[in-house]
């Protein structure tokens, strides 16, 4: 019997700090990524091997997406966007490992990620346009829009949280229910669908973060409609 996906199980305490399940899974992902990437990138050469070629392709694709969406040099944003995409992707797919629940199925993880995006938007906006310039973007196209723009800043962060959380949590939820009803083979199509959802959500989260960053540094906020990739209704 699985526990409620909405509850957070505390596995152990470090001093006064309770360490919950998503934190431990995230640490595991961090450890695996550190080890794997260290092994993969410790001997990079001009003539790329297969592993290096795959890594370079991933980086090139991320760069291409950033360049396409923001129309700027992708270097300053590569780490942020790439980390968001890869981590969410790996976290969503970690559900393949039996007994592991994706950290993104817990709202705390999604909130941390969205907070990172919000903070990065603020940081890059101020860094590129200056504090005054960034604040002025809230008064565009006119000062009447200031409250709406502020609300938009907040709501879109929340929309990031809820979109990712809802999709991943619902997938885990559905699989848990189905698994409790018919354990053998039946959940497999749903798990496959969950993988697809996980990949799409990772892409959506990353591309939305790119768009938010782009609007913050290009000053076209409000004038540019937010691209909405097709979403799945799970």
């Amino acid at each position: 019997m699985i526990s409620s996906p909405l509850s957070t199980d505390v596995l152990f305490h470090i001093g006064p700090i309770p360490v919950s399940d998503p934190v431990v899974v995230t640490w595991g992902i961090m450890a695996v990524m550190t080890l794997g990437l260290w092994l993969a990138t410790r001997r990079l050469t001009i003539k790329a091997g297969p592993v290096q070629a795959v890594l370079e392709m991933i980086v090139e694709v991320i760069d291409g997406q950033i360049r396409e969406s923001m129309q700027v040099d992708p270097a300053p944003y590569r780490t942020l966007i790439g980390t968001l995409f890869l981590f969410i992707f790996i976290a969503n797919w970690s559900s393949l490992i039996p007994g592991v629940e994706p950290p993104t199925a817990h709202i705390e993880t999604d909130a941390a990620l969205a907070a990172l995006v919000g903070g990065a938007t603020l940081y890059f906006g101020i860094r590129v346009r200056g504090l005054g310039g960034y604040l002025k973007t809230f008064a565009e196209p006119s000062w009447v829009m200031i409250p709406l723009n502020i609300i938009e800043q907040i709501t879109r962060t929340f929309s990031l949280i809820v979109r990712l959380f809802g999709n991943v949590m619902s997938g885990v939820f559905v699989i848990g229910i189905v698994l409790s009803l018919a354990g053998l083979l039946v959940p497999i199509p749903l798990m496959a669908l969950d993988l697809l959802t996980g990949a799409v959500q990772a892409y959506i989260f990353a591309i939305l973060a790119t768009v938010f960053l782009g609007s913050a540094v290009s000053g076209e906020e409000g004038g540019k409609p937010e691209p909405q990739p097709p979403q799945k209704e799970d």
């Binding site: 990079l44 890594l55 705390e108």
Partner: protein, 245 residues
């Protein structure tokens, strides 16, 4: 539903660490190697461009050299042709001159040969005639070899210039009478008489014998020579044969 703020804080921390991990172990090294590859490719391209430029320059230089060589070749060919033509003309001219000279030499040689042959033939003819004459004379009476020529001798002396005749027959300069055979006393006397009659004074006469006269007499004075013999006649005929043919 509630939010575990400890989890939220730890996950925020984890996300920060993840940023560092991905940056440190993925994005930075991959971006570095891509940049290095780009630089290497740029260097190779620059080198290739430099090589291409150098090759083009070299090609142009080679073309210039080829043009120069071609022009030089043409000039050398023209020179050689002109020289060859001049040489050919000189050789032809020399050959013509040599041919002309050889032809002239041959003509001269032919003429000389012809003359030599004529001379030889004439000499043979004269020897033959001498032989014939000698044989014919052998059949004549012995006296005729002298007596038949006394009149001729006197006539020849009579035709000599006066001053020549005046010096002939003086005692200090005796006349030498040569005959084909020894003169008899009568013949000697007859000759002396005839000479004294023609010269109008007494003469001193010395006689000599020379069979090569064949027949006849020859009178030798210090300033005159009267030849009235077959040998003299034959020599005249021979000279005429040789020099007029």
């Amino acid at each position: 539903m509630h939010i575990d703020w400890w989890t939220l804080g730890l996950q925020a921390l984890n996300v920060g660490v993840l940023l560092w991990i991905f940056s440190r172990f993925l994005f930075r090294p991959v971006a570095d190697i891509v940049r290095k590859r780009q630089e290497a490719a740029d260097a190779v391209l620059a080198q290739a461009e430099a090589s291409r430029t150098a090759a083009l320059a070299h090609e142009a230089e080679v073309q210039v050299n080829a043009d120069r060589l071609s022009a030089e070749r043409g000039r050398v060919m023209a020179d050689a042709e002109a020289q060859a033509r001049a040489t050919a003309e000189a050789i032809l001219s020399d050959a013509n001159r040599d041919a002309a000279r050889i032809r002239a030499d041959a003509e001269v040689a032919t003429v000389a040969l012809k003359e030599a042959e004529m001379t030889r033939l004439a000499t043979q003819a004269s020897r033959l005639s001498l032989e014939i004459t000698r044989k014919l004379l052998a059949r004549l009476p012995y006296e005729l070899l002298v007596s038949g020529f006394i009149d001729g001798l006197s006539e020849a002396v009579a035709h000599l210039p006066e001053e020549t005749r005046a010096g002939m027959g003086n005692p200090d300069q005796p006349l030498i009478l040569t005959a084909a055979r020894p003169l008899t006393d009568a013949e000697r006397q007859t000759c002396q008489d005839v000479l004294e009659r023609i010269l109008g004074r007494s003469v001193t006469l010395t006689t000599e014998t020379d069979p090569s006269l064949l027949a006849g007499l020859e009178l030798e004075a210090p300033h005159a020579l009267v030849r009235n013999s077959f040998r003299a006649d034959l020599e005249r005929i021979e000279a005429r044969l040789i020099h007029h043919d």
